[in-house]
Amino acid sequence: MPPPVLRLSGITKRFGALVANDAISLELASGEVLALLGENGAGKSTLVNILFGHYVGDAGAIEAFGEPLPPGDPASALAAGIGMVHQHFTLGDNLSVLDNVLLGTEKLWRPFSRRREARARLTEISKQFGLTVDANARIADLSVGERQRVEILKALYRGARILILDEPTAVLTPQESEALFATLKTLVADGLSIIFISHKLDEVLAVSQRIAVLRQGRLVAIRDPAASSKAELAELMVGRRVDAPVRKLTRGVSTPEVLLSVRELTAGGKLTRASFEVRRGEIFGIAGVSGNGQAQLADALCGLLPPAQGEIRIGNRSISPDPHAFVHARVGRVPEDRSSVGIIGDLAIWENAISERYREPRFARTGWLQRDAAKAQAQRIVEQFDVRCSGLDAPAKSMSGGNIQKLILGRALVDDPQIIIASQPTWGLDVGAVSYIHGELLAARERGAAIVLISEDLDELFAIADRIAVMFHGVLSEARDDWTVTQIGLAMAGGAQFAHAQPA
């Protein structure tokens, strides 16, 4: 057996009291795809950041191709042939593909950049691995999948022999993911070695030769995908059995009343003439690759973004674009960016619990805040929604992401809303919190709420949404309850939604 291309031994990293990586030892063989599986916060990102020199480990050593790698130095990691594709791309949007690839590869004192040679080499590399991208295209004009290809090309151009991909499929359509997996196969066939970070079990089983499972900073298991299963991996990842919440189909009334109707809504320069209706006891899913207008739709549905045209009706009344009016009309709102829009981090948890309702008579009397009533409300949310915190007076930002989300969800749900707008409610949360939040949304649906669920996670939409519409370039497709993964993938890429879903 050939020596490993990469050897991590005893990597340990602490952040205060938190041990992010606890004596992790791992080897990467030549021509292998090694999956790094774990929940958010399990330590995957910390580990690869140490490997790439963004962090310095508290203990442990790294060897690449038999040579020790100096800690805390991305330049020597690059020089040693390690390339990294971050989840959030690091590309200059206003530059061309070629410029982005060249960025940082040339000496500063060279008077002219050797673009002709660079272009030739880039073309050669992209041909060799089937990564076709126009070298002159501006990054801003490329799709997300193409941008990711540029990131991979960037690493290959610098001579990477080890490629680290951090959650590469999080932003891709199913078809783009398939294309990425094919690329990975050609790369390893050429002798590259790949570390593939993911928390999606299907993908990991499909693309990797070995699976390393991290939990709470420890390497808990290494499995052969051929001899493992989704159930086993899920249990290893979470540390206990996880049961997904089950949707009970109790649609008694054949045509329940419409609670939310959106007509010809155009807003924010991106959303164009969206129309849909959501009925009592229904979860209406909105799928799409991020940046296709979902954020504008969510903002309009939360009262933040005034429509340029069209209207939003709650029940049979048109509503004015004002967050306060929406809360008053019993719309529960869960924003996409939980830590910088959902909460005011420096304010206490109890103050955040009433931030949407502090002017209601029960929390304010002639301008004086009713602290006891506010704290009682916060206590109700904390208890009812299982928010773990060190006390109601603690600043909201002191909680973990999952608990912040439970507080936001609790604030939206505690007064029994008739409509719920949830935007990426489970993004970045661990499996336990995800299943909790799905359970709460399904319970609200049982109680008769009309729910709009905007998500980039197809698994989530297929699991709990009753109908799904797809957003592409600001246009919302017809809602359907019988999408296949292939059809919805095509619609997300802008291909087939008109062919399949156009009303006759």
Partner: protein, 355 residues
């Protein structure tokens, strides 16, 4: 490539209370230590210089009276800045608002309006506060409506305000009996603030300032308006999402901040001089920024910080006469204490790691 100084800042999950309370004192101690070097450079004995400074600021009845007199406008400008900064509205224009407030006080109190004093007195105060508030309303509207940076506009309006006051003092409001000095007509004697201590210049303005500090503290933690100000300051995006009227809160905060600085000007005219000159404030408005920061934007802390800065100003005067260190040392100490406070706040919030 390696940087020479390999240090990183890691945010603490929670700032320990002891650290937050200790940081102004640590900052002040560091400042005195650092400025000791300057005293040595000036050729004076450090311990004697600081002893003199302290003694002449707090060592006698007269000294305390002088310090409290100086502290009165500083508390108000400190509150003005603290209120605005808490809502993330950076009012650097307290100096201009102070002068405009003083000018308005003179315009009402020194005018020939034939109203009885009990009516004119509140009018004079209201006019001063309104003048300060109106001056700050302009940058506040420019910020909320057009997104114009308030640091620039409030700073520049100081010069506009000062030149306007200068124009008035040389023109329509000039005291023609003042031997040609650019000085305003005096306000009516019965409108002057009463004295608190005999044989000192401490006046009722001090009580007003301290009472306002207490009131603002209560407003901050107990009222919906205080809640709105803190929410908008801590995270305007989240506040907007929650339905808090961000722009109107910002505007109200600005009016309050400007009114407080305007009141400081009224106090200087009615409590101390009786008339307005162009050198009435030795930068009280700018010192208010330092005081607000030293106080951690806490209204009660502002009172302490204002007394500290006032003591420095008063003490440095006598110290310079006795040991020959220039009075500018007071300015240096105030400035260094601001920088030290900023560093101390950062160190309380972050943990520094060398790697």
């Amino acid at each position: 490539m390696r940087s020479l100084l390999n240090l990183r800042l890691e945010a603490r999950a929670r700032v320990p209370l002891a650290m937050a309370l200790a940081s102004p004192f640590v900052a002040v101690a560091f400042t005195l230590l650092a400025c000791a070097g300057l005293i040595v450079w000036a050729g004076a004995p450090v311990s004697r210089a600081y002893a003199l400074l302290f003694e002449s600021a707090f060592g006698s009845r007269f000294a305390i009276g002088e310090t409290l007199t100086r502290a009165t406008p500083l508390i108000l400008t400190g509150l003005s800045c603290a209120v605005a900064f808490r809502a993330h509205f950076y009012n650097i224009g307290a100096e201009g608002q102070l002068y405009l407030g003083a000018l308005a006080a003179v315009a009402v109190g020194g005018s020939a309006i034939a109203l009885p004093a009990p009516i004119l007195f509140p009018l004079m105060i209201a006019a001063g506060m309104a003048a300060g508030a109106l001056l700050l309303a302009v940058p506040a509207l420019a910020k909320t409506r057009l997104g114009v940076d308030e640091v620039v506009t409030t700073l520049l309006l100081n010069f506009v305000a000062l030149l306007f006051v200068s124009m008035m003092l040389d023109g329509p409001m000039k005291d023609t009996t003042a031997m040609g000095w650019p000085q305003s007509v005096p306000i009516r004697p019965e409108l002057e603030f009463g004295k608190l201590l005999e044989r000192s210049r401490v006046h009722v303005g001090l009580i007003i300032a301290v009472a306002l500090a207490l009131a603002l503290w209560v407003v901050n933690v107990r009222t919906t308006f205080g809640y709105e100000m803190r929410a908008v300051g801590a995270n305007a995006r989240a506040a907007r999402f929650a339905g808090i009227p961000v722009d109107s809160v910002m505007l109200k905060t600005a009016l309050l901040s400007g009114a407080l600085a305007g009141l400081a000007g009224v106090g200087e005219v009615a409590g101390r001089a009786g008339y307005l000159t162009l050198d009435m404030s030795p930068g009280y408005g700018y010192s208010g920024i330092v005081i607000a920061m030293l106080a951690g934007l806490n209204p009660l802390g502002v009172v302490l910080a204002a007394v500290f800065v006032a003591g420095l100003i008063v003490g440095a005067d006598s110290m310079s006469r006795a040991v020959g260190v220039p009075t500018y040392l007071a300015d240096v100490i105030v400035s260094v204490s601001l920088l030290s406070m900023l560093v101390a706040t950062m160190l309380a919030r972050y943990r520094v790691r060398w790697s």
